[in-house]
């Protein structure tokens, strides 16, 4: 595999929904929300803003940071679990917004783990298609507002989009390896179909995620002979701060090695991992191996290993 990460980008809506506002909606306290999730606030898009709007803004930010023109892209991949149902998916509209005509645009209709799967796909696609832009975009506020949710679930979600530019051209980080897994036997434990409220069996989701995320990370590290303690940053799906801390503990690394911005943005599903990567990269991070990982509805999970060049 010869694939490189050149740049990340992100877009967050302006409107901040604080725990105080959310607490009033669900009949809990702001402190309870923060204690249960580590979330202090999240961003919600305006009613007229679409998943495509969020995705296009993150795409443009990433292209600007990567100093690449949209017309040079060979493919775009758009991951979203909250795009409106039906066809076509958001990828075609995002491609059109970027001015692309004839460039393949692939939808990954996968919540939470979509960006990770997109990244792994892109690492293989660049050899044939050239520069590939991976975007994760979610308007989870629409899911929250579609129907009354369980209190434990309603407080978690935020809107946003993240993006990554992957290329066969040498760049800042080389993608070394990817592991992807799916197991449909628990698919009903986290599901949403727009006709009824999002269903989440939190006990099952946390039990599975707290074991499968460290297992996938260990799998990709072991087969590349890299110790978890040598990884400079773990860039994970930002589901819940308590889960991120648990993953760090399972890997035997200090919690600060697992990047966390869930306090400010909440759980933005498939957008979260690339939003985290974008913020982390903007902070002029230390050299060394980095690991992306995610777990989400399906269940789908996995990890991607890269290192600075």
């Amino acid at each position: 595999m010869s694939a490189y990460l050149h740049a990340f980008g992100a877009h967050l809506p302006e409107r901040v929904v604080t725990n105080e506002e959310m607490a009033a909606r669900v009949g809990k306290t702001a402190e309870w929300i923060e204690g249960a999730s580590g979330i202090r606030e999240r961003r919600w898009a305006a009613p007229e803003t679409s998943v495509v709007d969020l995705a296009a803004a993150a795409a443009e930010d990433c292209l600007q940071r990567g100093v690449v023109a949209a017309r040079s892209l060979g493919m775009i991949i758009v991951a979203s679990g909250s795009a409106p149902p039906g066809f076509p998916g958001p990828a075609a509209a995002v491609a059109a917004r970027l001015g692309l005509e004839g460039t393949p645009a692939l939808d990954v209709p996968m919540a939470s783990a979509g960006s990770l799967f997109g990244l792994a796909l892109a690492a293989r696609m660049v050899e044939v298609y050239g520069d590939v832009l991976v975007i994760g975009a979610e308007k989870m506020s629409a899911v929250v507002e579609a129907a009354a949710l369980d209190v434990n679930t309603a407080v978690l979600f935020g809107d946003g989009a993240g993006a990554a530019l992957v290329s066969a051209r040498p760049g800042r980080w080389e993608i070394l390896d990817c592991v992807l897994h799916s197991d449909g036997q628990f698919r009903e434990d986290l599901a949403f179909d727009w006709t009824s409220p999002l269903r989440m069996n939190g006990l099952s989701v946390i039990l599975q995620a707290s074991r499968k995320i460290p297992a996938a990370i260990s799998e990709v590290l072991m087969r590349n002979g890299i110790a978890a303690g040598d990884v400079s940053a773990f860039l994970l799906h930002q589901a819940n701060h308590n889960l991120l801390v648990r993953v760090a503990k399972a890997l035997g690394v200090a919690p600060e090695h697992v990047y966390s911005n869930v306090a400010r943005y909440g759980n933005t599903s498939s957008a979260s991992m690339l939003i985290a990567a974008s913020e982390w990269a903007a902070g002029n991070p230390a050299a060394g191996p980095i690991v992306f990982a995610a777990f989400g509805a399906g269940f789908h999970w996995g990890a991607v290993l890269a290192r600075s060049t």
């Binding site: 197991d183 036997q185 069996n201 006990l203 099952s204 946390i206 039990l207 599975q208 074991r211 889960l243």
Partner: protein, 80 residues
Amino acid sequence: MSEATRRERLVGVLKKVTNQPLPGDEESLFESGLLDSFALPDLVSALEAEFSIQVPDRDLNPRKFDSIARIEAYLNEHVQ
């Protein structure tokens, strides 16, 4: 391992994980508030360590660990 020993060790694990008095055998550990979504993985890991077993992914179903009776039944089936 006798069933009595297994039960004694199970009770020890549960007390260590929950740090609270245990409910009746059939009572839900989740509904009683003894276990939440983050304590459940701790319980499963502690059971694996105590009984030298590996709970496979297909058995990572909260219902299997919802009460002392259910956990005991699982252990009776999987621990020699």
